[in-house]
Chain length 305, copies 2
């Protein structure tokens, strides 16, 4: 498989989109018809809940495929339903890959070297539908290396947590080390890691990117300058409060270097304005498609060339 | 369910043991008879591999139950086999709980608040066989709080990563912040978090503990002094190089406050000295039991009263 960064650049140019749709299903927000059809009304058992979630995800994937470059299923919302939920997670990844979307598995794993190697094998093996993985860097180089090696060997990508989108992120990530905040020290590491053999594509971008929350544009500006050849995966758009006008600093001058994730504001667009009024639950798939299209258009001014 | 720390103290006193056995199965190290019996010779499919792993784990649990207070299945080694591996993980946890062992799910999850809440629901719900979870603190208070709340509500425990056992742990965890290394700043947070309502047991210990690798006793001494009422979960014994004589600083004067994990050196005792020579693969369960018993006895001098 070719270099992940190159595949991402190709998808961005082809679709004129930097949209990632987060697949964070919540059973209580699924359309009630769909829930009932899969025996997942009320407090559903794990098997029924997982069936309903997979059916929902497939429709969402179909709806957003013209507008998004990638989907980002968040593992936690599947692990709630145990192994049956994980089965739905796997089937979701496979379905999205079949539909030509890149798949970013949002698992935020991180561990000691032997265990990190097991995680890399779990998600980045040659036959996995997963294109990229989110990784927690707290363990340092030896805990991150198995992911980097797997990415180089199989044409996959890794997004390292550098500055997360939650309010308390500053408590640890902004602590001052050697005269700079920790997140910049981690960005320095990501830069070095991303220059490793087999990781930089013909596009000049590295397959090792960074997570930089949309809710912290000031910090993103510094991260951007330390990581000119990394893609930033930017969560926090929409429901977490960031809007398109906040995001200019995340992109490079070439219009590349960032992909922006929205979860709830797209996949549950029929439960909130304006999707609720315009489409309602009966036409929920149209509401999802419209939200993805609007987000794509809002971010298009940053795309150049 | 009663307070996790109290249940841990009770198990330690009853068994006169501070041993935790890490269930990190590796298919290629499983006894070949057992592999063949479950159709998992060679490059096994996920379903067969998962069956063999579960069968192995059950025998290991039976062998170590008299000597260990807890088992610690490491999620990565199950996630390799996808949802079928996760099914084996769940069945392993349930079997260990049935055999009277505490179950520490080593998942090292950590995420933004909504997602952390989903993880807490996945592992710490009232009917889960999991007694405690490992958590990565990089997100700060709001990402950790859902785990603390679930622990308080359901009598479960959380072990926060403070200083991990891998050589590169120092690259981030030892960075100096406000005149002290990051791991001590995190230990300060763990102390405050552990004093929350419903978390301190009648034993005086908190259900919020800390991971402190056995390979860093100097650092553990400092962590111990900051966290007098927390249990330290101490990985790195055995295969990672630490021995019983290194571990005095991890325990409190009352002989409590630490549980020590060994994985490979116990569960694969039949593949290494002295278990290989004394028992060999034919009598592998005896080798496992003997390794757990030896470890228990090596650590007993630290137990007081």
């Amino acid at each position: 498989m070719s270099n992940f960064a190159d595949r991402l650049v190709e998808a961005i140019r082809r679709k004129r989109s930097t949209v990632v749709v987060g697949l964070d299903p919540r059973l209580d927000l699924l359309p009630s018809d769909l829930r009932l059809r899969h025996g997942a009304g009320g407090t559903a058992r794990p098997a029924a809940a997982s069936r309903a979630i997979l059916a929902f995800n497939k429709k969402v994937i179909d709806a957003v495929a013209p507008h998004a470059v990638a989907v980002k299923p968040q593992s936690a919302f599947y692990e709630i339903y145990g192994h049956e939920g994980v089965d739905a997670f796997e089937a979701t990844c496979a379905y999205a890959a079949d539909r030509g979307l890149l798949v970013i598995a949002d698992v935020k794993r991180g561990d000691v070297p032997d265990t990190a190697e097991a995680y890399a094998r779990a998600y980045l093996s040659p036959d996995s539908p997963v294109d990229a993985l989110t990784v927690n860097p707290l363990f340092g180089r030896d805990g991150t290396e198995p992911f980097l090696k797997a990415a180089a060997a199989t044409g996959r990508g890794v997004f390292i947590l550098v500055h997360t989108s939650n309010p308390s992120s500053k408590e640890i990530q902004d602590l001052s080390v050697r005269g700079q905040p920790l997140y910049l020290a981690i960005a320095d590491m990501v830069r070095a890691w991303g220059e490793g053999e087999g990781l930089v594509g013909r596009s000049g971008y590295s397959s090792i990117g960074a997570v930089a929350g949309a809710t912290f544009p000031e910090q993103a500006k510094e991260i951007r300058s330390i990581l000119p050849r990394a893609f930033l995966l930017v969560p926090g758009y929409g429901a977490q409060g960031a809007t398109a006008k906040d995001l200019g600093v995340y992109y490079n001058a070439d219009g590349l270097g960032a992909v922006v994730n929205a979860s709830r504001s797209v996949i549950f667009a029929y439960t909130r304005s304006p999707g609720r009024e315009t489409y309602g639950e009966k036409r929920w798939e149209e509401a999802v498609a419209a939200a993805a299209r609007t987000m794509k258009e809002e971010l298009q001014p940053y795309l150049k060339g």
